[in-house]
Symmetry: C2
DNA sequence: CCTCTAAAGCAACGATCAGTGCGTTAGCCA
DNA sequence: TGGCTAACGCACTGATCGTTGCTTTAGAGG
């Protein structure tokens, strides 16, 4: 009794269309973001969304996870400081994009598990950089502290204070962490 | 042609009932949070909400602003370090409450201006503590840096990483800022 | 190439939503 | 205390939502 799944062909196409529709609508739809609206934009029947994802929250989590995973390559500049500065700059650039921000806000709003989805694999990326430095023999902060300092400040500015995140500010941030 | 307003009596009562209804529903209503649902819970007619607030986003912003303003008294322990530790502990306690967290998430999700509303007057409180220390003659970090470090880490853990925020962690946080 | 069935489309339903015109209640000021 | 009118309640409408049974399409394995 092999339960076969069909990830290719039409299913994959539908999935891609829906993801794209969500990404588009999330930036505009100040009015209302519902499954029927997404379905229409994607050129797909609403029933498909209800059957495949069940709720708006689950769909948004999937979109956010795939959106914020694998989008940034872990840099390798030779020093932890350089890696972190480069990586934080990339994250900041990403967060400066209104589309990304709108997706984060909407995902957070729909369901209690939206937060983790919006992080993607950034926690893992941070861990990778710290472990590499540790293997070099350097002293490194914990992943938690690095996340609190860097991701905390980055997401805070993006979501709440709306202040710009420029190069010198990022350097200060990393300096504060590694000092 | 004096445009008179009526903030007292029934209007104030309706406002209070609606705010309370939102606070209650925001924690439960995983299903759907709409103006008619809020109206029913508040014992008020839906028309009132449409006429007075216009949209769910505006109502949530108002609720969040009043919820996160004036809820914490600025401590005065004699030292900036003590003040910040005490204040951050209060903020952490507040953020640990599932109701507060649900309100923040929902408010962020409904409208682009939800972030500021969720901060309430915490930026001002931070500023007050820093300025007092400055008048004492001490060297203080900028408000922006303090917010990035403290509020950033606090809100990040509450919304994204979901890790506990205990006393030693908060002390480390303040130490990192003042060092 | 043929078969099987997972996945998508279609149609129709009850429920609820956002919005409007009008009557009613009750703050506020003279 | 009485009049004025801001603010609320009521009844109703069209639109849209979430959901379900059934049919059709098209991957994937033999």
């Amino acid at each position: 009794m092999s339960v076969t799944t069909r990830p290719g062909g039409r299913s994959a196409r539908v999935r891609a269309d829906v993801h794209r529709a969500v990404a588009e609508l999330v930036t505009e739809a100040q009015g209302e973001l519902t499954l029927p609206v997404i379905a229409t934009r994607a050129g797909v029947h609403p029933t498909t969304l209800y059957r495949r994802w069940g709720s708006l929250g689950e769909l948004l989590e999937e979109v956010a996870t795939s959106r914020f995973s694998g989008d940034i390559v872990v840099p390798d500049t030779g020093s932890l400081r350089g890696d972190l500065e480069r990586w934080a700059t990339d994250v900041a650039t990403d967060l400066a994009d209104p589309d990304s921000l709108a997706l984060i806000r909407t995902t957070l709003g729909s369901g209690p598990d939206g937060g983790c989805a919006c992080l993607g694999d950034r926690h893992d990326q941070l861990k990778a950089m710290l472990e590499r430095e540790q293997e070099r023999g350097g002293a490194v902060p914990t992943v938690e502290r690095a996340a609190d300092t860097l991701l905390g400040a980055l997401y805070y500015r993006a979501l709440f204070s709306r202040q710009p995140m420029d190069e010198p500010w990022i350097k200060d941030l990393v300096d504060m962490l590694l000092r």
